[in-house]
C-alpha cells in the first residue's frame, strides 16, 4: 500500500512524523543518559548518538520518499487532489529537511554533557 493518497491528512502528516521524531530524539537522548550514559571523553559516536542517527536517517529517508511520491502523484491529479498533493509534497520535503538539519549535531556533540 502506498504511504501517500489524496487525503487532506497528508497536508500535515509529514510534519506530524517530524514532531514525533523530534520528541523521540530529545527524550531519547535524556533517557539514554539516565540509563547508560557514555563518557563525554569518548566523543560523539557512542551508542546513544548512533541509535538516534539511525532513527533520524530512517525518518528523513521515509519523509523524502513520501515527498517524491506525492510529487509524482500530483502530476496526474486534478482539482482538490492536485492542491493537496502539491502541499503534501512540500510538507514532507520540509519535514525531511528539518529532520536532517536538526540531526546534524548528533555527528559532533556527545549527548550527556
Amino acid at each position: 500500500m502506498k504511504p501517500v493518497n489524496y487525503s487532506a491528512w497528508h497536508l500535515v502528516t509529514g510534519l506530524i512524523v517530524w514532531a514525533v521524531w523530534f520528541i523521540v530524539v530529545y527524550a531519547g537522548a535524556a533517557l539514554g543518559c539516565q540509563w547508560a550514559p557514555p563518557s563525554p571523553a569518548a566523543g560523539a559516536l557512542n551508542w546513544i548518538n548512533l541509535t538516534l542517527l539511525g532513527v533520524s536517517a530512517v525518518t528523513a529517508g521515509y519523509l523524502g520518499y513520501c515527498a517524491w511520491l506525492s510529487w509524482q502523484m500530483k502530476r496526474s491529479a486534478t482539482g482538490h487532489g492536485r492542491f493537496t498533493l502539491s502541499l503534501a509534497a512540500g510538507g514532507y520535503l520540509a519535514a525531511s529537511v528539518a529532520t536532517v538539519a536538526i540531526a546534524l549535531p548528533l555527528l559532533g556533540i556527545p549527548p550527556c554533557m
Binding site: A8, H80, I102, L106, I109
Partner: protein, 834 residues
C-alpha cells in the same frame, strides 16, 4: 417576498435584544467588537505602564518607582500586552472577519464566543484589580519558579496571575475551537480549501496552535497554584520537583504564542498587500505551506528561551538548529510579499504605509532572532535589553503594525467611512520614528550589558544617553498611538462616506454591508474562485437581493450552511443558538470561583464549582430539538435545503468535541511529560514508588470502564446502522458500569499512601487521579443527561446525533485511563524490575 421584507425578517431573527438584552448577545459581529474594544482598553493600560518604565529608566538613579513597584509594573506590562491585548484582539479580529470572508452568517458555536468573551473580561479585570490594589504579581510575565512560589512571593500577586490568566486562557482555547470548526465546516458552498481566502489559512493555523499550545500553561498554572495553596512540591527540588519543569511548560506555550500572535498579523498582510498591488498573491501555495510548516516547527523551539539554565549541549544544539530553521518559512512569506509587490501596480494608501513599516521592522526583528538562536550569542545577551529590543521588533513590528494597517483597511467596513490620510500619515510617522528611537538603541544598551528588569542604574555604567533616547522615543511612539486612536474616533464623525468595496478587494466581507448586517449575508452564494469579488463583482448586489441559497427565514431559526471540510461541498444546514444569558451567567459564576480561590475560601469554592457545573449542564440542555433550537415539525422533509444537522450524524458539535479533546489531550500529555521529566531529569528525581497504588483495583476499574465504553460504541454504531430499540436501557447499563469504575478509581486513590506535600511524584500522581475522575465523571453525567433527553424526545432512534457527539469523549476517557495505568503505575514497576 420583497427585498425589504426579507431583510426585516432576517433582522428580527438575527439582531441582538435591545438595551440590557445586549449582554445576552451571541452574534459574532457583536462579540468580536467587544473583544477588540476591551483589548484596546487593556492596550492603553499596558502603554501607560510602559511609559512609567521608560520614565523611571530615563535617567540613572531615578526614584519615581521603587524596586517592588517597578517589578509589579513590568510584570503587568508584559502580562497585559501578551494575554489581555495581543491574543484577544487578534482573536476578535479573526472572529469578526472569518465568517464574513468564508461567506457564512456567524461562527458555529455562538454561545461559546460569548462565554469566551466574558471569561476574558472577568479574568482580565481580576488580573488588573491586583494592580489597582497594589498587590500585583511581580515575578515577570513568565512567572519563573521559585521566585513566583510561596516562599519568595508570599502575597497574593502570583495567585492573581495564575487564576486570572487561566481564566483568560479558557477564553482563548474556546475561540481556538470555535474558529477551527467554523473555518472547516461553514465555508460557503464551493469554497474548497484551495479557494479559501489566505487569511483563513493563517487563522486556522493560529486556532490549532492555540488548541495545542495553551494547555501546557494551563496545566503549569494549576500545578503552581496547587504548590502555593496546598504545598504540593511540583517545583521544589528538595522534594523531587524541579523549577525547570515550570520553564518547560511555560515555554511550550510561550514560544508557539509568538507565532500565534505573528501568524494572524501575517495573514492580514497577505490579505491587504495583494489588494493594493492590484494582483493575486504571487505564491498562494507557498504561503499555505509556510503557514503549516511554521505552525509545526514553532513547537520545537521552546528550549531556546532556556539556553542558560544548564541543559545538555546536544539538546541545546537541536533547539538552536530548529530556531534557525523556522526563519525559512517566514522568509518564504517575505519573498512572496515582495514578489507580489514587485509584479503588481502598487497603490500607497494609508494601510500600505503600515504594511511597509511592518516589512522593515519585522525583518530586522527576525534577523536578531536568528542571532539569538546561536547558543554562544544567546549566553552573552540573555536577560539583557538586547532581548527586549529583539522581541519588541518581532511583536510590535510583526503584530502591531499589521494590526493598525488592518484597522485602517477594514475601518470602512466597520463604519461605512474612510479614515483621514493626513492625520493617519502623521500618526504613522510618529509611531515608526518613535518605535525605532526606543528599541533600535536598546540593542546597544543590551550589548553594553544592561540587564532587563533592573529598576535603576548608575551613571558610570555608560547607559545614560541610550536610556534617555529610548525614553524620548517611547513617548513619541505613545503620542503616535494616541494619534491613531484620535484619528479612528474622529473618522466616525468626519470621515468621508466610503463607496461599496472602497479598496477594490477580492474577498467576500465587502459584500456583507457597510457596516455589516447582523446576519452578514441575506443569501449564501456558491463560490467558484479564490477571488469572488474580483471575478463576480455583482455579488455585492445579488447577495442582499436574496438571489442565492439559504434565503428563507420563515422558520425563525439562525441557520448556516454546513459544508464538507475539504471540498466545500454542501452537506447540511447548521442551526445555531440565538441570544442567550447562559454564557454571561456561567462566566460570572466561574469568576466567583476564581475570587473564592484567590481569597482561599475553599469551602465556598466547592459550592461555586458545583453550581457552575450544574449551570453548564443546564446550558447544554438547550440543544438539538429543544424548543429554543430546532423543534421537530410536521413538514421536516418539505424544505428544498439540505437536512438540519441535528437530524443527521454529522454536525458542528461532533467536530467541536474532537477539537476540544485535542486541547484536553495536549494538557494530559503535558502532565505525562511532567511525570517523566521529574523522574528522569529533575536533579533529585528518582524512580517513583507507586507500590501503594493498588494494581488490582486499578485494573478492575479499567475493566468496568472498558465494558462501558464498548457498550456505548455498540449503541452508537447500531443507531448509525438504522436503529436500536433497546438503546435507552443499554445507556443506563453504560452509566452503571462507569459508576462502578469511578467508585473503584476513587477507592484506589484514597487507599494509596501518597505523600502529597513531601514527594513531587506523588503530587503529580494525585493530579493524574483527579484528571481521570473528572473525565469519567463528566462522561457519566453527560450520558445520564442523555437518558433524560430520550424521555423528553430529544434523542431517539432517528435523532441520535447527540449520542455520536459524546462517543469521542468516551473513547478519550478510556484512552487516558489505560495510558495513565501504563505510564504512572506499571512503567515505574517495570523499569525497577529491568
Amino acid at each position: 417576498m420583497s427585498n425589504q421584507q426579507l431583510h426585516h425578517r432576517m433582522a428580527k431573527v438575527w439582531d441582538n435584544l435591545p438595551g440590557w438584552g445586549n449582554l445576552a448577545a451571541v452574534n459574532h459581529t457583536s462579540i468580536s467588537k467587544r473583544f477588540m474594544l476591551t483589548g484596546i482598553a487593556f492596550f492603553f493600560v499596558g502603554i501607560t505602564l510602559a511609559m512609567l518604565i521608560r520614565t523611571q529608566l530615563a535617567k540613572p538613579g531615578q526614584s519615581l518607582l521603587d524596586a517592588d513597584v517597578y517589578a509589579q509594573v513590568f510584570t503587568m506590562h508584559g502580562t497585559i500586552m501578551m494575554f489581555l491585548f495581543a491574543i484577544p484582539v487578534l482573536e476578535g479580529a479573526a472572529m469578526y472577519l472569518v465568517p464574513k470572508m468564508i461567506g457564512t452568517r456567524d461562527l458555529v458555536f455562538p454561545r461559546l464566543s460569548a462565554f469566551g468573551y466574558y471569561c476574558y473580561l472577568f479574568g482580565g479585570l481580576i488580573v488588573l484589580s491586583s494592580l489597582v490594589l497594589g498587590i500585583a504579581p511581580s515575578s515577570g510575565w513568565f512567572m519563573y519558579t521559585p521566585l513566583s512560589g510561596a516562599e519568595y512571593s508570599p502575597g497574593p500577586g502570583s495567585d492573581f496571575w495564575l487564576l486570572g490568566i487561566t481564566f483568560v486562557e479558557i477564553s482563548a482555547v474556546s475561540a481556538g475551537i470555535e474558529l477551527t470548526v467554523s473555518i472547516l465546516r461553514t465555508r460557503a458552498p464551493g469554497m474548497s480549501l484551495a479557494k479559501m481566502p489566505i487569511f483563513c489559512w493563517y487563522i486556522l493555523a493560529m486556532a490549532l496552535m492555540i488548541v495545542f499550545g495553551f494547555p501546557p500553561l494551563i496545566l503549569a498554572s494549576i500545578l503552581l497554584e496547587l504548590e502555593r495553596a496546598a504545598q504540593m512540591p511540583f517545583f521544589d527540588p528538595a522534594a523531587g520537583g524541579d523549577p525547570l519543569l515550570w520553564q518547560h511548560l511555560f515555554w511550550l506555550f510561550g514560544h508557539p504564542e509568538v507565532y500565534i500572535i505573528f501568524l494572524p498579523a501575517a495573514g492580514i498582510v497577505s490579505t491587504i498587500l495583494p489588494v493594493f498591488a492590484g494582483r493575486p498573491l504571487a505564491g498562494y501555495r507557498w504561503l499555505v505551506l509556510s503557514v503549516i510548516t511554521t505552525g509545526f516547527i514553532s513547537f520545537g523551539l521552546w528550549v531556546h528561551h532556556m539556553f542558560t539554565v544548564g541543559i545538555p549541549q546536544l539538546a541545546q544544539a537541536f533547539f538552536s538548529v530548529a530556531s534557525m530553521l523556522v526563519a525559512v518559512p517566514t522568509a518564504i512569506q517575505v519573498f512572496v510579499w515582495m514578489a507580489t509587490l514587485w509584479t503588481g501596480r502598487v497603490r500607497f494608501e494609508l494601510p500600505m504605509l503600515w504594511i511597509c513599516g511592518f516589512l522593515f521592522i519585522f525583518v530586522c526583528g527576525g534577523l536578531t532572532g536568528v542571532m539569538l538562536a546561536l547558543v554562544p550569542f544567546d549566553w552573552q545577551v540573555h536577560d539583557t535589553h538586547f532581548v527586549i529590543a529583539h522581541f519588541h521588533y518581532v511583536l510590535i513590528g510583526g503584530m502591531l503594525f499589521p494590526l493598525i494597517g488592518a484597522l485602517y483597511y477594514w475601518l470602512p467596513l466597520l463604519s461605512g467611512r474612510k479614515p483621514s490620510m493626513q492625520l493617519g500619515k502623521w500618526a504613522f510617522a510618529l509611531v515608526f520614528i518613535g518605535f525605532n528611537g526606543t528599541f533600535l538603541l536598546m540593542h546597544l544598551t543590551g550589548l553594553l550589558g544592561m540587564p532587563r528588569r533592573v529598576f535603576t542604574y548608575q551613571s558610570e555604567q555608560g547607559w545614560d544617553w541610550l536610556n534617555l533616547s529610548s525614553s524620548v522615543g517611547g513617548f513619541v511612539l505613545a503620542t503616535g498611538l494616541v494619534m491613531v486612536a484620535l484619528d479612528v474616533i474622529l473618522h466616525f464623525k468626519f470621515g468621508p462616506k466610503a463607496k461599496p468595496n472602497p479598496w477594490r478587494a477580492d474577498t467576500l466581507e465587502w459584500a456583507a454591508g457597510m457596516p455589516p448586517l447582523s446576519y452578514n449575508f441575506a443569501s449564501i452564494p456558491t463560490i467558484k474562485t479564490r477571488h469572488p469579488l474580483w471575478d463576480s463583482p455583482g455579488l455585492i448586489q445579488s447577495i442582499p437581493a436574496g438571489a442565492h441559497g439559504l434565503a428563507r427565514i420563515e422558520h425563525g431559526r439562525r441557520e448556516l450552511y454546513g459544508t464538507e471540510a475539504i471540498s466545500g461541498k454542501l452537506k447540511t444546514v447548521f442551526h445555531i443558538p440565538t441570544h442567550s444569558w447562559w454564557p454571561l451567567i456561567c462566566a460570572a459564576v466561574l469568576a466567583g470561583l476564581c475570587i473564592s480561590l484567590l481569597t482561599r475560601q475553599y469551602l465556598l469554592a466547592v459550592g461555586v464549582t458545583a453550581t457552575a457545573a450544574a449551570l453548564l449542564f443546564r446550558w447544554s440542555w438547550e440543544n438539538g430539538t429543544h424548543k429554543t433550537m430546532a423543534p421537530l415539525t410536521d413538514n421536516e422533509s418539505d424544505s428544498d435545503e439540505p437536512p438540519l444537522h441535528s437530524r443527521t450524524a454529522d454536525g458542528p458539535g461532533l467536530w467541536g468535541i474532537m477539537v476540544m479533546l485535542m486541547a484536553d489531550g495536549a494538557l494530559y500529555l503535558s502532565l505525562v511529560f511532567g511525570w517523566l521529566y521529574l523522574w528522569t531529569v529533575s536533579p533529585n528525581g528518582e524512580l517513583p514508588d507507586t507500590s501503594s497504588v493498588s494494581r488490582p483495583l486499578m485494573l478492575t476499574s479499567g475493566i468496568f470502564l472498558t465494558l462501558g465504553t464498548l457498550l456505548y460504541r455498540n449503541i452508537e454504531q447500531k443507531l448509525r446502522g438504522g436503529g436500536d430499540s433497546g438503546f435507552s436501557k443499554k445507556l443506563y447499563t453504560v452509566c452503571a458500569l462507569t459508576v462502578c469504575h469511578l467508585g473503584l478509581l476513587i477507592w484506589a486513590m484514597v487507599a494509596s499512601d501518597l505523600k502529597l506535600t513531601s514527594r513531587a511524584a506523588d503530587a503529580v500522581m494525585l493530579v493524574m487521579f483527579a484528571f481521570l475522575i473528572f473525565h469519567s465523571g463528566m462522561s457519566v453525567v453527560a450520558s445520564l443527561l442523555q437518558t433524560w433527553r430520550i424521555k423528553q424526545g430529544h434523542i431517539s432512534q432517528t435523532l441520535f446525533y447527540e449520542v455520536s457527539v459524546l462517543y469521542p469523549l468516551w473513547l478519550y476517557t478510556l484512552g487516558i485511563f489505560w495510558v495513565s495505568v501504563c505510564s504512572f503505575v506499571l512503567l515505574p514497576a517495570w523499569w525497577e524490575a529491568a
